[in-house]
């Protein structure tokens, strides 16, 4: 494995005024958390995904069967993480680590406990570098990959408007460059933003689509001196996956909806 670039000297904790400060090393759930994680998925997530949602998965064979790997997907709903975690083979569940916004999930103690110990998230402070120049947002992710874990990462940075993709941020390119052998699997998700959009607590049943793309690796020649190329390649692949399906988007003709929707009523 490549060396960890020393960005801020030795790892140390960062407070950032969160309910739970960011630890020096990548956090790992204990035995209790791992047990609860399996229980939570068996009792809540898998039945919910199977009955309330129902997934149409294409190219399932492209999903990694072992770590390290990075799953990269578009992000519209809290369900995105659950679906991606439930999609991998159950034996891998304990090693799947969603990269999650610390400024969102670590605000309150209860949610932070659940996110860190049951879901096993890797918290990342968005904009943390501006607050504390010594903060390296990718340090925990590199550690987790070195342990052979599977990261779930949403490069849009936040859940956007349902079924609208925002530009990808560049963190994924840095991470891929630091760990050039790790496969980065682009995944297109559709429908989850309709089932449980941002700001809603009431899930409404919809069939959802999960299209898995061919992986890329940070060590490939074509982005050796242009990291942005890897980001745009991931965006291109997810767009191409989206084009494989035929979707009825939200009909969105209200004046206050500023986003433009594709013509959905052919």
């Amino acid at each position: 494995m490549a060396e960890t670039p020393a960005t801020g000297g030795a790892p140390r904790t960062h407070d950032f005024g969160l309910a739970v400060p960011l630890p020096a090393d990548a956090p790992r759930p204990g035995a209790l958390g791992r047990g609860l994680k399996h229980l939570f998925f068996a009792v809540v997530v898998r039945p919910l995904v199977a009955v309330v949602l129902g997934l149409n998965v294409r190219h399932r064979e492209r999903l990694p069967t072992a770590g390290p790997a990075i799953l990269v997907a578009n992000h519209n709903s809290h369900l995105d993480t659950m679906v991606l975690m439930a999609l991998l083979r159950p034996g891998l569940l304990a090693r799947v680590r969603p990269v999650a916004a610390a400024d969102y999930f670590l605000r309150g103690r209860a949610v932070a406990w659940f996110a860190l110990n049951v879901l096993g998230v890797l918290p990342v402070m968005r904009g943390g570098r501006k607050i504390d120049p010594s903060y390296d947002a990718l340090a925990h992710s590199r550690q987790a990959l070195d342990r052979g874990e599977v990261l779930v990462l949403f490069p849009e940075g936040s859940r956007g408007e349902a079924e609208r993709r925002q530009a990808f941020k560049s963190g994924i390119a840095h991470l891929a460059a630091d760990r050039p052998e790790v496969p980065v699997v682009p995944i297109f998700l559709h429908g989850l933003g309709k089932a449980l959009p941002k700001g809603s607590l009431l899930p409404v049943p919809f069939f959802c689509d999960v299209f898995v793309g061919e992986p890329v690796r940070g060590g490939e020649e074509r982005w050796a001196d242009d990291r942005a190329a890897l980001v745009s390649e991931l965006e291109t692949r997810i767009e191409a996956l989206a084009a494989e399906g035929s979707f009825a988007a939200w009909e969105c003709r209200h004046a206050s909806d500023k986003v433009e929707m594709k013509e959905s009523w052919r």
């Binding site: 129902g54 149409n56 409404v204 919809f206 069939f207 009825a248 939200w250 009909e251 209200h254």
Partner: protein, 328 residues
């Protein structure tokens, strides 16, 4: 020891033998189909039978779940049909364009499924027959108005109600057949004690075989298209051949599964034959409007659940009202 029913598990012993034999017949048919596909595969190794094999495999799964749901007890059968309605409604709502503002309305639409099947369970016929066409019809626009989004209102309320009628109201008629009491069914005829489960089998088996035989007749002799713009694969030869086969089978099966006289069975066969065709092309028109080929991917080789129950959305209410008018 020669008394077969006593060796069966208790839940099977309560079923009329004719229902058991029909279920066995379904699996016999599937065995024949599987053997034919296997023989063709051996005779012509170059032929790509992937989709046919998938289709037959999905039939086994569907027949297995259906047989289980029918055999165990009536409540399980009702839960099964409610789940079919739920899946069909979910598929429909996932296909059509819906408005972001209507998420909560869709939640109420889903809630109508268990309520509708509850009326069936408590055998409240009057409520069963008006709940979707009257109360859901009146409530959904009200709920939309309370949200206040008027842009696209008519299309949203229209598409949602059509989906409720097709997936909840129509499909619900299959389940209500279960409720028809043996005594009531038999009253006018003095025929054997058959009951609702046998009627459900009669309807479902004939509807599905009608699909298959229209397909086979169409593939073998099809020349003149019926509705080329909607469904170019549908031909008069397929339609009439299928209807003839279905009607024949309807008359042959009627003495065991229904209280029908032979001319009523003939009429029932025609209703199922033509009704099934119409249901099929109506869902085809919907898919063509949405520019999709299959309604989903739940049943490999078949497509989605709407692709499988399209004919039933027409045959179920038509057959139910035909039967209940004459014999109930």
């Amino acid at each position: 020891m020669n008394d077969l029913p006593n060796q069966l598990p208790s839940f099977l012993r309560d079923l009329p033998p004719v229902v058991l034999w029909s279920l066995a017949g379904i699996f016999g048919l599937l065995l024949v189909a599987t053997t034919i596909v296997w023989l063709i595969g051996r005779a012509k190794p170059g032929l790509d039978l992937g989709e046919v094999r998938q289709r037959v495999r999905s039939w086994w799964v569907m027949a297995g779940v259906f047989a289980f749901a029918m055999a165990v007890d009536r409540r399980i059968s009702l839960v099964f049909f409610a789940f079919v309605s739920f899946l069909a409604l979910k598929e429909y709502l996932s296909l059509i364009p819906t408005r972001r503002a209507d998420r909560r309305v869709l939640f109420w639409a889903y809630l109508a499924v268990p309520i509708q099947y509850w009326w069936i369970h408590v055998e409240w016929y009057f409520m069963f027959i008006i709940f979707v066409p009257v109360y859901v019809f009146l409530f959904i626009p009200l709920r939309m108005v309370l949200i206040g989004e008027t842009s696209g209102f008519l299309r949203a309320v229209g598409t949602l109600h059509w989906g409720m009628m097709a997936t909840v109201f129509s499909v619900g008629h299959v389940a209500y057949l279960l409720i028809l009491e043996p005594s009531a069914v038999v009253a006018g005829t003095g025929r054997a004690d058959v009951g609702g489960a046998a009627l459900v089998l009669y309807l479902v088996v004939l509807t599905q075989l009608n699909d298959v035989s229209q397909f086979i007749f169409g593939k073998s002799f099809g020349r003149h298209k019926v509705v080329p713009k909607v469904s170019p694969g549908k031909t008069y030869e397929g339609l009439l051949g299928g209807v003839a086969a279905t009607t024949t089978l309807a008359v042959v099966l009627a003495p065991w599964l229904t209280p029908f006289s032979w001319h009523h069975a003939l009429l029932a066969g025609l209703i199922i034959g033509f009704g099934g065709f119409i249901g099929d092309v109506v869902i085809s028109a919907l898919k063509r409007d949405l520019a999709i080929k299959d309604s989903g991917s739940l049943l490999p080789g078949h497509g989605g659940i709407l692709d499988r129950i399209d004919s039933l959305t027409y045959t179920a209410p038509l057959f139910f009202h035909f039967t209940s008018y004459l014999y109930y």
